[in-house]
Structures are given as C-alpha cells and as structure tokens.
Point group: C4
Chain length 205, copies 4
C-alpha cells in the first residue's frame, strides 16, 4: 500500500516464481489436514476407514498440479506483466491457496450430512479460480495486449479455446454437487484424471 | 551468529528470492487458520456464518500480495545489499510473516468483545511493517547509497514520495481501530482494494 | 483443467524448481507434528521420553533430502519434459509430500499397538513413491526418449541400474514391518544412513 | 535411496535454492505456534501477557535470518558440492528446521518450571546446528577442497576464524541455560542482536 502506479517493473519470471511458490506450498500443506486418531489397537481399521482423506488429498494435489501446468502454459506466451494481470493472478492464487480448506471439509464430512455443503464449497472455490484465470488470460490475450511478439497466434488461439470451457465445466460440476454431492465430487476427480490420462494416452504432446 | 562482518557478499537476487519465499509462504499459510467445525447437518449454515474468516483470508492474502509487489518495485532500482538493508528487510519480513496471527485473531473475535484488541493488533503489525519498509527504503535511497547508477532519479523520487504516506496511513487506520474496530478493519480492506482497483481502473501502468 | 494438450511448453528447470519447493516444504513441515505437552515440572522427562518423535523427524527429513538429491541426479541427464513425465513426477511428489502423515503416525504410536499399522503405512508411502520414480525414470530413459543428446550413456545406464532396486528394497522393508514393525522402521532408518555414510566414507564422488 | 554414488551432479546454486527454501519456510512457520486464546473481553489483557510468544518469534526469526546470511557467505566462496558437503548441509538444515519446536516450548513454558528444559532444548538445537555448520565449512575449506579457485584466501581464512567460535559460544549459552534458563535465553537473544546491531553500527560492511 505504498507506491503510486506507473512505477511497476515486474518481470514475468518474478510472477512465475511467486506463483510456483504458492502452488507448491498449497499442495504440500494439504497433508496437514490428513489425520487419523485412534487407540493403538484400532489404528489399522481407522486408517482403512479414512480412505476419503487420502482420496481428497490425492485429487486436490493433482488439481493444484494441473493448475500449475496450465499457469505455465499461459505464461509461456506472455512477456509483459501489468498491474491488472498481476492482481488477477494474485486473486487466482488466493483461490488455489484456499483449496486446502474445502478439501478438509470434504474429507471430514464425507460420511455425514455435511458432504453437500462441503462439496459445494469445493466447487465454488474451483469455479472462482477458473473465473479469475479466464479473466487474467483474456485480459492478456485480447488484441495480444501482453502477448510476446514472437508467440504464434495459433498457440494463443488454442489456449483461448481451451480456457473457455473451464468456467462452465467447473460451474456445472458445482451444480451437480448441489443435487448429488458424491456425483459432483466424482466429477471433479474424473475431470482431473481425464485431463492427465487423456493427454498421456493419446500422446498428443 | 558466526561470521565477522566485512565478508558479506549478498546479491540482490538472493534477497529477493528469500523475500519471495516468505511472502508466498505467509500468504499460503493463512488458509491453515480458516476452519469451520459443525455437525454435518449444520455445516451449510456454519459455513455461511463464517464469512468473516474468508474475508480476513482474502484481505490479508491481498495485502501480502501488495507488499510483495512493492518490495519488488523498490528492489528494481537497488543494486547492492549491505547488512543494514539486509536486516531491515528481515525485520520487515518478520512483520509480514506475523500477519497470519492477527488475521486469525480478527476472524476468531469478529463477533465478540475481542474484536478491538484483534483489530489493533492487526494495525500495529501493519504499521510496524510500514516503518521497517520506510527505514530500509530511505536507508538505501539517501544519497543514492545503494541505488543502481542506471536508475532514473525520477523513479527513485517517485518511490520515496509513495513510501512516505505508508506509515501515517497505517498508523491512522490503527488509531481508528482503537476507537471503532469495525471501521478500522473496513479501512484496511478499503486501502488494499483502492490500491488494486485504483491503479487498474485508471490504467496508469 | 483448461488446456488442450499439444500446447505444453515446460522447461526442465521449471519442473525442478517446483519439485525443489515440494521437497523443501515437506521436509520443513515435519516439525509441525513434533509436539510434547507436559506440565512444567515434568517437561524435562517428557522431552527425553519423546525421542521417537525426534528420530522420526530426523529420518524422514533425511529421506526427503535423499529423494531431492536423487531427483536432481535424474533430471541432470533429462532435457525435455512431456506430460507423462510431468504427471509421473507430480504423483511422486504427492507421495513425498504425504510422508509427514505416516511419520506422525509412527511417532505417535511408537509405544502402542498401532505401531504396526503406522510402520506399514510408512512403508507403503515409500514404496509408492519408489514406483512413481521408477516409472518416470524408465519412461524418460527408454530409448533415451527424454535424455539429453550430450548425456553419457554410461551415466544413464548407471542411473537405471540404481533405480531398479528402489522398489523391491522399499517393498521388502514394508513386508518386514508387517511381521515386525520395529525391525521395519530400523530398516528404513538404516537404509537412509547407509546411503549417506556409505557414499561419504568410500569417497566415491 | 536409489542411486549409486559417483553419479552426483549438483550445482551449488541448486543447494542454495533448497537451503533458501528451508530457511524461508522454517522462519515463516514460526507464526503457526503463536496463539492466544481468551474470551473476547479478556483478549486485550491476554495479548499483552503473551509477550514471550512474540519475543520468541522475533528472536528465532532473526536467528534463522542470520543463519541464512551466513550460509550464503560460505557458499559464495564454494564452487563444488560433493556428497559429504551435501549431507552435512542437510543435517544443518534439519537443525534449523527443528528450531520452531524449541521456540514453541520456550514460549509455552516461559512462566513455569518447564522453562529450564525448554531453554536447554533450544540451546542444544543451536549447538548442533553450529556443529553441523562447522563440519561442513571445514570439510569444504580444508586444503581448499571445494573452494573456488578465484576465491581470495584472506576471505576463506576470515570465514574460518569466524566459524570457530560458533560452537563454543552456543554451547556456553546452553550451559548457562542449565544453570539459569532466563539468562541463557537472554544470551541467545543478545547474541543475535549483537550480531545485527554490531555489524550495522560499526559500518564494517
């Protein structure tokens, strides 16, 4: 809260390093919320019974990894950062760093009536992150405002085409979670796995 | 606690990397303190009732992001680090890394009598951070002690003019929080939003 | 969950930086789970009695350090990243970042009947990490798919020979832990120490 | 636990980045242990009464900052990393990352009989860190084993002279803490402040 604008000198590499840090920390912090407390003799059974915690950990870790990959793909064609992109990115990172909270809610309430509220919170977090990401991308890409001169327009258009469905897909999965929390949660996991397996299986890279 | 002085060889990029780490970790750790515990059936209501926690998370995340931006703006014209700048920066980082604590206090006591003490603690943390930042900046800028030869004096003066109000503004908001905690808290949020929206809206970058 | 494949542009240095972050954070987070609570007068005795916590901390910190070293050794001969390597690495990192959880279980249940389940969970985590690492290495090394042209084939083959025993060794130690938890735990510690001391003593670097 | 030795290719910059991460995370994690719980009306008084927590936070944050500075000073003249230096550094980092635990003990037991055990634990952690640092430095410096050819021998000798007192000073302060915990704690704080203020006041950089 100190500087006038007009003084900003931020290289894209700085923003990427900061974002890398937030992605890595948010993913690694997920483990803090995994906990199983049981008397010694019952620990084995309690550990098996707690599989929703490990599943929630794995899915959220993977989702954060996917976002990290996508963020880099977008930054690879951007070569300038202005304040709007900066704060849209910080808003997106605040959503990603928020994910450990709904992850914990889902793991904790997987077997009680709270699962609906937990799944919807999870979905709203993902949808808000997708909105922030879409805003920051289209702000940068519109008229190639912040796009590197050397970046191929085909790549830029392809990124745009792939960013567009992010918001409706996440919003739809959230709506499904309102109606059926477990279906919504399975959808979020399936979307992440589909993203990984699909792109690997078909060897499109 | 081992070396004599005179041996210090610290590049500005090293200090920036360390500071980046502290900023990113402090922001991401904020989520640990967001927690809602309720029996399953009441989770939805409890999540809605807990909005001060999300607001506190969002404002503190944004404030840490702003400090990160400002720190980089100042480091962009500094090209040498000496021990005084180093430890003034470490003191500033200790204040920023402290912010999750008053954030948690505000979220926890938002609806009870503790809100005054929480808001004042928040304000004192911000004010101390601003003092450390002003000291480190003016130490570096005075007589261009640590300023890069290539740095434009107009930019240096502009940074100085913008650093000056940081301490009185934060101190004033803290004093307001003594008198009216909620007004003080709204002020801290408004200052952060004004910083972001103002600079984006007027497109001064 | 936003981009089509075919757009991926990820330098190995980016993946290394992200992995570095996860390794450093996972190791440093281990301390959060070390806790000794006792009335003042009994603190000294309680601290001595809690040595399994410090031992678990030290062994897991060392193991994460060893994985960090090995990951760099493998990345040193890899000069391209594709989506399969990326997600195999993210899976491996998810296992490493999971380690604080079984570490906490072992420390907590070291003196009760839960030690078996805790030690087996520890072993399964290590074995899964080893599987992910082997998959990612052999995917990259097969036919030198992602290996740098300048990389010596002798070095690549030596890495392959050393990656192979990782899975059976960790699986064997896990099986031992099923039969005798303490023997299994001592094995994990001994393997880590042997790795460090062995390579130092014989000065093979 | 996978590679044979002889394959290690680790640049000093990689080790510095990993160490930077551990230093930054350990310092920032200190805030997790600062907590004040009181009914709203008593929060102000409880916050004032909790000053040992803030003092412990500030001193440990500063000490970690000082270690970070010293580690860089030593790495600035080292240009090769072998396995011995690597694992001696990891052991030193494990001690630094351990510091949040005794910091928490000191803050928690500052006003009860546990302060002696807490202060001694703090001192033992610092002394062990100093031993690891001395071992790693003298291993690297002996016969200029890992020292850059371009490094001035005067600088190397000066670092050696300044590393030597680290172990006895920390051990002495620990012994003082056995006899008088508060004197020991004041000594640790005074040593850190002396390091900072001394080097700044006399402008020896």
């Amino acid at each position: 809260m100190a500087f006038r604008s007009g003084l900003l000198t931020m290289e894209t590499s700085r923003l990427e390093t900061f974002a890398d840090g937030v992605f890595a920390i948010a993913a690694t912090l997920l483990i803090i919320d995994v906990s199983v407390h049981a008397p010694g003799a019952e620990l084995g059974a309690a550990l098996k019974h707690s599989w929703p915690q490990y599943a929630a950990y794995a899915v959220s870790f993977l989702i954060i990894g996917i976002w990290w990959v996508n963020h880099h793909a977008s930054m690879a064609v951007i070569d300038r950062v202005d304040r709007t992109l900066l704060f849209a990115t910080i808003a997106m990172l605040a959503c990603i760093a928020f994910l450990p909270f709904p992850t914990r809610l889902v793991a904790e309430h997987f077997r009680d009536d709270g699962v609906r509220a937990a799944a919807v919170t999870y979905g709203l977090t993902m949808t808000t992150a997708a909105i922030c990401f879409a805003l920051s991308w289209f702000y940068a890409a519109r008229g190639r405002r912040l796009i590197a001169q050397t970046a191929d327009q085909g790549v830029v258009s392809a990124i745009s085409r792939s960013v567009i469905p992010g918001v409706p897909i996440n919003a739809a999965a959230t709506l499904v979670a309102v109606w059926s929390p477990y279906t919504g949660l399975v959808l979020f996991a399936a979307l992440a796995l589909f993203y990984v397996v699909g792109s690997s299986l078909f060897g499109r890279d």
